[in-house]
């Protein structure tokens, strides 16, 4: 049965409204300040460390993202891994149930638009807001790096850093889609936020440790060491944080040759410690990048289907 008119009619209006909501909300300002402060702390530590231990590294600039210094336990990247989900969840957890609870949903949906436009518009506005913040943060880091290190990044370093930015946006997309899914499933924003945060903690902190334990518990006793390691790795990749970590490793650490176990055959003829070309690094990380994007789409579509079947009455 064919519906008349475009499913995306009114999309632009919804996106603009949601954007202005996001950009003026107190919630967004708090989250942004949190991000900026954490980023500056991590960056400051990295710069100190790099200055103290200047090595003949052809990718010194990328070290900005991946170096930590005591007493701060985290690098710029590891802090993004933790905080980006928090911001994304903070923006999406009341996307749909908030409209329900304000009783605005049926009024808005009685205007000549489809539900598709409302949901997609909310997602796009959220992703756009996240992108703006991440791009601003990225520029800040590059700028400060230039200023404090006094060293211009090479073309390849910029390219790697840029792809890293895009991947971070995709990573944010996964969590935004997840938060919106919960905002559709749960009528109470508090429940949706709590479940999303719980899942975030579980996937980011507990799952990497749990995955090998699960494999050991369920693998037949005859399995080889290699099978166990591979199985644990596949399992741990269910966590978006893990996927993101692996992509970042391949991108920002050009000497990375593989994200799985290294076989002797792969080392034959290899110059250890020699950087991979950008194309090769991309190929190494490609499955993980696709995984992040696919995860976003899957979560969004699941939410979309549930939303289409949901009753609008409060």
């Amino acid at each position: 049965m064919q519906r008349e008119g475009s499913a995306l009619h009114g999309l632009g209006v919804v996106v603009l409204k949601e954007l202005s909501d996001h950009l003026t909300s107190v919630r967004m300002r708090v989250l942004e300040w949190l991000v900026v402060l954490f980023a500056l702390a991590a960056l400051y530590g990295a710069i100190q460390q790099i200055r103290d231990t200047t090595a003949e590294d052809p990718f010194l600039f990328l070290k900005l993202f991946t170096t930590a210094r005591e007493p701060l336990p985290f690098t710029f990247v590891s802090f993004l891994t933790i905080l980006v989900p928090l911001v994304a969840i903070g923006m999406g957890f009341d996307a749909v149930n908030g409209e329900h609870n304000r009783r605005t949903l049926s009024r808005i949906l009685s205007q000549p638009i489809y539900r598709d436009a409302l949901l997609f518009g909310k997602f796009l506005a959220g992703l756009f807001t996240l992108s703006v913040s991440l791009i601003a943060l990225w520029l800040l880091v590059i700028g400060l790096g230039l200023f404090l290190l006094g060293l211009p990044p090479s073309g390849e370093e910029l390219a790697r850093a840029f792809i890293f930015l895009l991947v971070t946006i995709a990573y944010a997309g996964v969590w935004l889609a997840l938060a919106m899914l919960f905002s559709i499933i749960f009528r109470s924003p508090a429940t949706a936020a709590l479940v999303a945060l719980g899942l975030w903690l579980f996937l980011t902190l507990i799952w990497p440790a749990l995955a090998p334990a699960i494999v050991v518990a369920f693998a037949p006793p005859s399995s080889s060491e290699e099978t166990l390691i591979l199985a644990a790795q596949y399992l741990s990749r269910l966590s978006p944080s893990n996927l993101f970590g692996e992509v970042v490793l391949a991108l920002l650490n050009p000497t990375t040759r593989t994200l799985g176990p290294i076989y002797l055959s792969q080392l034959q003829g290899a110059v250890l410690g020699a950087p991979m070309p950008l194309g090769e690094s991309l190929i190494i990380a490609w499955p993980q990048i696709v995984g992040l994007i696919a995860g976003t789409i899957l979560l969004f579509v699941t939410g979309y289907i549930i939303f289409q079947r949901q009753e609008v009455r409060a």
């Binding site: 049965m1 064919q2 519906r3 008349e4 008119g5 009619h9 009114g10 209006v13 919804v14 409204k17 304000r102 009783r103 605005t104 049926s106 009024r107 808005i108 949906l109 009685s110 205007q111 000549p112 638009i113 489809y114 009753e311 609008v312 009455r313 409060a314």
Partner: protein, 316 residues
């Protein structure tokens, strides 16, 4: 469909997994008429409304709104129909005019037209002076009026109002009913649902009485009165005298006479029998103190109907 009907429903049914909440109802709303869907909460009124708007799937049966099928052409329906949901909500942080601006843009109005229509609509419902205030300072009644302003701005041909007066104080109710009557004067057809009968009676041309997913009764209030009570009028007589009730019972057109208190008699009749009743009282040597005629109220019809249904008896 008949050219003069703006809404037609035939065998409209809504089934959920566990229950059928609307059981094959049929009704139509004529152009320019105020039609009331009445009944207790949970009788299926809101579900019926949502199906007509294409916001809820129709399990069975057919609906036509202005000749469009809400299932296949929901946008065409929603472009022409204004909807005021039960306990309408707005974005509290935005001003009244900003709230309307958002929906106006969803309707696709251009800037100039938009601003003009927003100002006119808000002034019309008496919110012109507070249009730049955030909605969270608004009372229930103001929110309902803002909802009606949205329908005015849309220049809808049909206004569907779900429980427009519930939770309002008498004055706010009166103001709202006044605006709804104005809608009718502008040629807008109105479909409204309510469980507050006496208020609704005053403005509805025809009503449908819902009971557990069925339309139990349908027609003008007078018709319903004749169906349920068997009469179109009742006359209250206060008089002193002996055997007056007997005399009144024999007046032509009188169906029955009740005596709620010693000198008070209530006559149920097919027509206005005041003069005959007065003559009968005088002829019997009684002293007539008061005489008044009324059409049966919806409340009365409603209560009597449900008494009959619950008691397992059939209406007269």
């Amino acid at each position: 469909m008949s050219a003069d009907n703006v809404i037609e429903a035939q065998g409209l049914t809504k089934r959920y997994d566990e229950a059928t909440v609307v059981k094959g109802i049929s009704f139509s709303v004529a152009r320019g008429e105020i039609f009331g869907l009445l009944g207790p909460n949970g009788a299926g009124k809101t579900t019926t409304i949502l199906m007509l708007l294409g916001l809820s799937e129709i399990s069975d049966g057919q609906a036509r709104v202005l000749g469009f099928d809400p299932v296949r052409e929901p946008l065409a329906v929603k472009r022409r129909v204004g909807y005021l949901p039960d306990q309408v909500g707005f974005y509290d942080n935005l001003s009244a005019s900003d709230n309307l601006r958002y929906t106006a843009r969803l309707m696709g109005l251009e800037r100039e037209e938009r601003e003009r229509k927003i100002a006119t609509a808000l002034t019309h419902v008496g919110l012109g002076e507070v249009m730049d205030r955030p909605v969270d300072t608004f009372s229930r009644g103001m929110r309902q009026r803002l909802g009606l302003a949205e329908i005015l701005m849309k220049e809808a041909q049909i206004a569907i109002l779900d429980e427009p007066t519930s939770g309002l104080d008498p004055q706010a109710t009166a103001e709202l009913l006044h605006i709804i009557r104005n809608l009718k004067d502008r040629g807008v057809s109105v479909l409204l649902s309510s469980h507050l009968l006496d208020r609704v009676q005053s403005i509805c041309d025809r009503v449908a009485l819902f009971n557990q997913g069925n339309i139990a009764l349908l027609g003008t209030v007078g018709e319903l009165g004749r169906q349920v009570l068997g009469v179109g009028y009742y006359v209250d007589v206060e008089a002193e005298g002996q055997g007056l009730a007997e005399k009144l019972r024999s007046v032509p057109g009188v169906k029955s006479v009740e005596t709620p208190s010693a000198n008070h008699m209530r006559i149920y009749a097919e027509r206005d029998v005041r003069s005959d009743a007065a003559a009968a009282v005088i002829a019997a040597g009684g002293r007539l103190l008061r005489l008044s005629v009324e059409t049966p109220s919806l409340d009365m019809i409603y209560n009597r109907y449900f008494e009959n249904v619950m008691g397992g008896r059939h209406a007269a």
